[in-house]
């Protein structure tokens, strides 16, 4: 998931406030991500006036975001108060709207696995790509995985660090 969310006012004050909000809820956020259990990595960045939330997780986006809300609840609501066009809050009472909002802010992802091309006519792919890039200014072009096919919990299990 690559959320790129324009800040309402990308001033130094806003950036400080977001940083403070994240620091204040660090324990809650890290415990929550830990409990979601399917997350490999999650990053929170500010890039060129955007709040960016990038994560690599197992399974599909909808289940991930739903488990995320079930586990972390409304912990991120504070951070969304500084973004332009925030989702309806609290997210727990607007789950479907939040997922639609996430999908709207998620960078377009190029198909990574051949299985993503199920039922697609391969000859139309370049056109699909053009259309997608036209619609989505942000795109994830590719990802490298050192251990493809393993879930976060499998790695934790094999490393005996608890899952």
């Amino acid at each position: 998931m690559n959320l790129i969310i324009p800040l309402r006012r990308p001033s130094i004050v806003t950036r400080s406030q977001i940083t403070r909000a994240l620091v204040q809820s660090t324990d809650e956020v890290l415990a929550g991500l830990n409990n979601v259990g399917t997350v490999h990595f999650a990053r929170f960045d500010i890039v060129a006036g955007n709040l960016c939330m990038f994560s690599i997780y197992d399974g599909d986006l909808s289940s991930y975001v739903r488990d995320f809300i079930a586990t972390i609840g409304n912990a991120f609501d504070g951070m969304f108060t500084w973004v332009r066009d925030p989702p309806p809050l609290p997210v727990g009472s607007h789950v479907e709207e939040f997922i639609a909002w996430v999908q709207a802010h998620d960078a377009f992802q190029m198909p990574e696995q051949p299985t993503d091309l199920i039922s697609r006519d391969l000859s139309t792919l370049p056109r699909d790509t053009m259309v997608a890039l036209h619609r989505h200014p942000n795109a994830q072009l590719g990802v490298y995985r050192a251990y493809p096919g393993f879930s976060a919990a499998q790695i934790r299990h094999h490393l005996s660090v608890g899952w």
Binding site: N35, V36, G37, T38, D58, G59, D60, S62, S63, R66, D67, I69, A70, T71, G73, N74, P90, G92, S93, H94, V95, E96, E97, I99, A100, I118, S119, G149, S151, A152, A153, Q154, R156, H157, H158, W163
Partner: protein, 477 residues
């Protein structure tokens, strides 16, 4: 406790109609004339049972003189065909709007389960507008009511030519509570706080009613599922993932024999390990051996847990019931053990498999299943997508699919378990025993909502009277 107006809720959501309603027909209907179809729906909620009448939860507790019960599910295209405006339709959740056919790749409905092979008109979303489900004591009850449904409004409401019937029935006694693989079914259904008795621990804990009903708190603290607007339409409604699941009993029995020879145990033990319950219903968690299963006083009990079997020595982690409901076991997505719970109501179709008929018996048979929940994406799809298939809930089964109902490929799938004597077994070439032969996402509207649709409630929106001036207060004496 949440108060629910039972007279407003369709009766198949909160209760099973029981085994005395031994036959079912799912009528797949296409709206032919929107105005007449709305009128036909209106005639189903008059409060009189002189004709086809929607059975409410208030009437559901099995009046002895009821010969039939009737319920209505409407697909997204069905709501549109009935004239519900786009602005209202847009308030329904995305997966319902997309429909089950569009969600097929996510649900594992590919290859032989792909929608192009579906039966009963379900392969065409413009044909499956309404699914009217009639439960009856006998096929006579069902025939009479289904004729009345299809013939509503002088027979012009629904498309006669393209009306499809999907019929099911419980097996004859003494096997009336079995399904095609020989298991006893319907044992661990969700029961609801404020609806069912809490006193019987063998039936398991009570779930909040928001597990299935829209507009009530969900099982997840601080989470409310969205309710389609207006509330007259969405409130007290529910969603149903209707599934026609074809079962290959011959392949199933053949696998049991092969795996039993491999493991050096009985075929019955393999059947128990695949499911998590013995075919008589006894949970492996309470009865690890066949002898204990036969001796268990209440084999249908629901009062058991997995936390005392963390490695699946008794009940395999990958077994069907443990995937569907991890109960108190540790899972990867902590705190979501109950979040995917849903109501399952099903009835077999097709004759029981006759082993004597052997290779010539290829009659279609399976289960007509209703999977009822408040959020198709959070419950039905999340269960199907990441627990039944893929096995993301436990790293020891991740990458495998459910051994009974999963989208398995014999060339790649296998099933691992510990026998009752403690040996580790890995049975390879696990084929797919269940093929999806049809399905549709339906909205199960409240009775209020059916009246709202019938009377084109979208035409007279509840606009509060606009007040130009503050109300004048009468001066006191």
């Amino acid at each position: 406790m949440t108060e629910v107006d039972l007279a407003d809720v369709q009766g198949n959501i909160l209760h099973s109609y029981g085994r005395s309603f031994r036959c079912v027909r799912h009528l797949v209907l296409r709206v032919a004339d929107p105005a007449r179809a709305r009128a036909a729906l209106g005639e189903m909620v008059t409060g009189e049972r002189s004709g086809p009448e929607v059975t409410s939860a208030e009437l559901a507790p099995r009046h002895a003189d009821f010969g039939w019960c009737l319920n209505v599910g409407i697909t997204y295209r069905g709501l549109a065909a009935l004239g519900v405006p786009a602005s209202t339709l847009s308030t329904f959740p995305a997966e319902f709007r997309a429909g089950m056919i569009a969600r097929a790749p996510w649900l594992g409905d590919v290859g032989p389960s792909a929608p192009e092979h579906w039966v009963g008109g379900l392969d065409d979303p413009d044909r499956a507008h309404l699914i009217v489900t009639i439960h009856g004591h006998s096929t006579d009850n069902i025939e009479a009511i289904s004729e009345a449904v299809v013939g509503a409004q002088g027979g012009s409401a629904f498309d006669h030519e393209r009306c499809e019937e999907l019929d099911g029935a419980f097996f004859a006694e003494p096997h009336e509570d079995q399904v095609h693989f020989g298991y006893r079914d319907g044992l661990s259904n969700v029961r609801f706080a404020g609806i069912h008795e809490a006193s019987d621990p063998s039936q398991g804990a009570l779930a909040p009613i928001g597990t299935v009903l829209l507009g009530h708190p969900s099982p997840i603290p601080h989470v409310m599922w969205g309710v389609p607007r207006p509330s007259a339409l969405g409130g007290n409604g529910s969603f149903n993932a209707f599934r026609v699941l074809r079962q290959d009993v011959r392949a199933f029995e053949a696998f049991l024999v092969r795996a039993a020879a491999l493991a050096g145990c009985s075929a019955e033990e393999v059947a128990a390990k695949l499911c998590g319950r013995w075919r008589n219903g006894a949970p492996l968690s309470l009865a690890p051996t066949e002898a204990e299963a036969a001796a268990l006083p209440d084999p249908l009990t629901n009062d058991f847990s997995f936390s005392d079997d963390p490695d699946g020595a008794r009940c395999p982690i990958g077994s069907h019931i443990r995937r569907c409901n991890p109960r108190d076991a540790q899972i990867v997505q902590r705190g979501t053990n109950d979040a995917r719970a849903l109501v399952r109501r099903g009835m077999p179709y097709g004759p029981p498999y006759d082993p004597a008929a052997g290779a010539v018996d290829d009659v279609p048979r399976g289960l007509l299943g209703n999977f009822i929940c408040a959020s198709l994406a959070s419950q039905f799809e999340a269960l199907q997508l990441s627990w039944l298939n893929l096995g993301l809930q436990d790293p020891r089964i991740t990458g495998t699919n459910d051994p009974l109902v999963g989208a398995n490929e014999a060339s790649a799938a296998s099933f691992a378990w510990s026998t009752s004597t403690g040996d580790e077994v890995l049975a390879d070439r696990l084929p797919s025993f269940v093929t999806t032969a049809g399905g549709a996402y339906c909205f199960l509207p409240s009775l209020t909502a059916i009246r709202w649709i019938a009377s084109e409630g979208w035409r007279d929106r509840d606009k509060p009277p606009r007040r130009r001036f503050p109300a004048l207060r009468r001066a006191g004496p």
